[in-house]
């Protein structure tokens, strides 16, 4: 019997702490794509909050930790456009070219993939087709602009025959999460979220799916505060048929 290749799931701290369902959904999709899932022990934050707040030193040490943790694996999958971009685009920029970690950062950057990119590249086809739903897709800024993720999640969603994919009027506009931005500038962030939920509602979708837990918590929280009857989920949860939750959301 042939052994399956092994893929490391870097679940991201937001999913780990705030939305464990995204971890399980991702794991089941990666398995369905023909891989054995490993969740490397001791993983935490990729360092983005520190990096984007100007704390480069801490960001570097957090990057070093993540690089060493993920070094042994051939495939690294991240269910977040912004954390994947942190690893793929920004980690190599944190180290001097003379530093041994620069090469390691580049190696990690080369083998790390955002979840939908990974699934699409490995020809994953959803088997648990979700119930007939109208779904709007929200692009996360980092995934879209730093990694060029646009068609992959859409292609995956469109493969579910019962699913109708709807486009936002302004898919390129930020939802207002922005990491620490949303708590540092709550008024502006809140208005951006409001614009986004209005755009989502205008599509007539019952579900809005996206690839980043940051956007998800933001959009979900805004929809709920506004009393809108639209569910927000990670695209992995939708594909893995994991939307039914005990709390009935």
């Amino acid at each position: 019997m042939q052994t399956k290749p092994e893929a490391a799931l870097f679940v991201t701290c937001l999913a780990d702490l705030m939305r464990p369902e995204v971890g399980f959904a991702s794991a089941s999709l990666i398995e369905a794509a023909g891989f054995d899932v490993v969740v490397p022990r001791g993983q935490s934050c990729c360092g983005q909050p520190n990096y984007n707040s100007g704390d480069r030193r801490a960001a570097r040490s957090m990057a070093r930790r993540t690089i060493e943790l993920l070094e042994p694996y051939e495939y690294v999958v991240v269910p977040s456009g912004s954390c994947a971009a942190m690893i793929k685009v920004h980690y190599p920029l944190l180290f001097d070219e003379a530093d041994a970690l620069f090469g390691k950062a580049q190696a990690l950057a080369g083998k790390t993939e955002e979840l939908t990119v990974f699934l699409e590249r490995h020809g994953y086809t959803p088997d648990a087709a979700p119930a007939a739903v109208r779904v709007a897709y929200h692009d996360s800024c980092s995934g879209l602009r730093e990694l060029g993720i646009r068609h992959q999640p859409r292609a995956l969603l469109k493969r579910s025959p019962s699913l109708e994919l709807l486009e936002l009027a302004e898919p390129e506009v930020c939802c207002g999460f922005g990491g620490t931005f949303c708590v540092k500038y709550p008024d502006i962030s809140g208005r951006m979220a409001e614009n986004k939920t209005a755009d989502i509602a205008a599509t007539g979708a019952g579900i809005v799916a996206m690839g980043d837990v940051g956007c998800l918590l933001n959009i979900e929280g805004k929809l709920r505060r506004e009393g809108r009857d639209i569910r927000a989920c990670h695209v992995a949860e939708l594909l893995a048929g994991m939307l039914e939750r005990p709390d009935g959301r």
Binding site: V11, C13, A15, D16, L17, M18, R19, P20, G23, A27, D36, V37, V38, V39, P40, Q43, S44, C45, G47, P49, N50, N52, S53, G54, D55, R56, A58, S61, M62, R65, C141, S142, R145, E146, V173, C174, G176, F177, G178, T180, F181, C182, V183, K184, Y185, P186, D187, I188, S189, G190, R191, M192, A193, L217, G221, K222, R224, R225, D247, R249
Partner: protein
């Protein structure tokens, strides 16, 4: 350069609550964002042109001293004069000197952000010289005693009604007593007043969108033709601009001229593109008899060789403002700086000092749309991040933020701390949640729950549950 970024948060709040402003800002989407997208789509070569433009500007900045010398030599050879101003004070003094020599009482001005940067108008007024803004937008804010809120559309923050009020209030003394509300009538009224001012002006001051080293030309684009009248009717023409506006050749300039209006307003070309090269020649029918170019440094050369050098490529198209979700929701005045939005967030600290710029490089979600549309591909988020790093190094960032970041990096580095933090936080969240949802959080979390709910995680962390289920680790 005056910067008042301290009240950013309060001004932004007020801007979000200002219904008139919010209505006016809606114009950005159709007027600029969609127009740019259409213009870019019409030109298959657009992306390749952006690469070329980036390279041309980067090359020019790398050899700036040589090109500046060549520019000065060509201006001089055509009978003009170049003046070098290290800072705003020197620039104002030079301009004042030229105006005094010309016996100037009134000065017409076409739109120029550099004259805003050096606060020229109040200075001229103090010296009994009346500056008259001739760009319609600039004219309106001059009447209202305001500052521009956008680098190419200075009155983007105003409604037509507000302009009608302003004209009604100020045009009575020119014999116009009816309050006009229809666009073309209002424009006609302003034009007829400005025409008289054009003819009487002693000196004309323009900015420059580009300076061409090989010809010594100053290039100005307008849609109103006011720069031509400003430059040609008075006997003295002063061009005031920054040293970074240089391009080596006319070909390079044409490349820039194809990108600038498309990026700014979505136009293929502006209604007027004027090349001003030296004073009137003997066989010219009209034009100024003296031609001056005041080249302002004001912190620009200090950016060279630093991580901020890339900002010197900026051609002031305003696309980064138009596509910024922060700018397009709060407008330009909240920034409290001559240069607002993403380009201002990078440029203002360079020109005025990071200690004065506080919020500017921080008030961004780093969505990256500015960089995605910048015609000369300036990595604006990266440069804002560099400013945040400078602030962090110099302990200028708030101590609460610094403490939080340090704590987070320590927690993230230690699996044991991370687990116990998760355990405590999730129990706390569940404790204060009702039906799984939290409506109000304390401390930094208040920023979150002020605007949205938060879902309390239902169980333990993913890693904990994965281990319990016997998943591979």
């Amino acid at each position: 350069m005056e910067v008042e970024s301290g009240a950013f948060v309060e001004k932004a709040r007020a801007a979000l609550d200002d219904a008139t402003l919010q209505h006016a800002l809606k114009h950005i989407k159709h007027g600029f964002v969609e127009a740019r997208a259409n213009a870019a789509a019409r030109l298959p070569d657009f992306e390749a042109m952006r690469d070329r433009a980036r390279d041309v500007k980067a090359h020019t900045i790398a050899h700036l001293a040589d090109y500046l010398e060549q520019f000065e030599a060509n201006v001089t050879a055509r009978g003009g004069k170049v003046h070098w101003a290290r800072d705003a004070r020197e620039a104002r003094a030079i301009i004042h000197g030229i105006c005094r020599a010309a016996g100037a009482r009134t000065v017409t001005k076409s739109k120029s952000m550099v004259t805003e940067e050096i606060e020229l108008n109040p200075y001229l007024e103090e010296h009994s010289i009346e500056p008259i803004e001739t760009d319609l937008g600039e004219y309106i804010i001059q009447l209202r005693g305001e500052k521009p809120s956008h680098i190419i559309a200075p009155v983007i923050h105003l409604s037509k009604d507000q302009v009608a009020d302003t004209f009604h209030e100020h045009h009575g003394r020119h014999g116009f007593h009816t309050r006009l509300t229809e666009r073309s009538g209002m424009v006609r009224e302003a034009r007829s007043i400005l025409r008289q001012r054009f003819v009487k002006a002693d000196v004309g001051i323009t900015g420059a969108n580009f300076l061409v080293a090989e010809t010594g030309s100053a290039v100005v684009v307008t849609n109103e033709g006011n720069a031509d009248l400003t430059a040609s009717l008075p006997d003295t023409h002063i061009v005031v601009t920054g040293i970074e506006k240089l391009v080596p050749t006319l070909d390079d300039c044409h490349l820039m001229l194809r990108l600038l209006p498309r990026s700014a307003t979505g136009q293929d070309i502006t209604a007027y593109v004027s090349f001003f090269t030296g004073p009137k020649r003997t066989d010219d029918l009209s034009g100024p008899s003296s031609f001056h170019v005041v080249l302002l440094d004001n912190g620009r050369s200090d950016m060279m060789g630093t991580e901020f050098e890339e900002m010197l490529r900026c051609i002031r198209c305003g696309a980064c403002l138009n596509h910024c979700p922060v700018y397009s929701n709060i407008g330009g005045h909240a920034y409290g700086s001559v240069y607002p939005g993403p380009m201002g967030a990078v440029l203002t600290p360079s020109l005025a000092g990071i200690d004065k710029a506080g919020h500017l490089p921080n008030a961004s979600s780093f969505c990256g749309r500015c960089e995605a549309v910048c015609p000369v591909r300036i990595p604006l988020p990266k440069l804002m991040r560099h400013w945040r790093e400078r602030e962090f190094e110099r302990h200028l960032s708030p101590s609460g933020t610094r403490w939080g970041l340090r704590a987070w990096s320590m927690i993230a580095a230690s699996p044991r701390l991370y687990r116990s933090m998760q355990w405590t936080a999730s129990r706390f969240l569940r404790l204060i949640a009702s039906n799984g949802w939290i409506r109000r959080l304390p401390l930094a979390g208040a920023g979150w729950t002020g605007e949205r709910d938060m879902h309390a995680p239902a169980g333990n962390s993913f890693q904990h549950q994965w281990r319990k289920r016997g998943g591979r680790r």
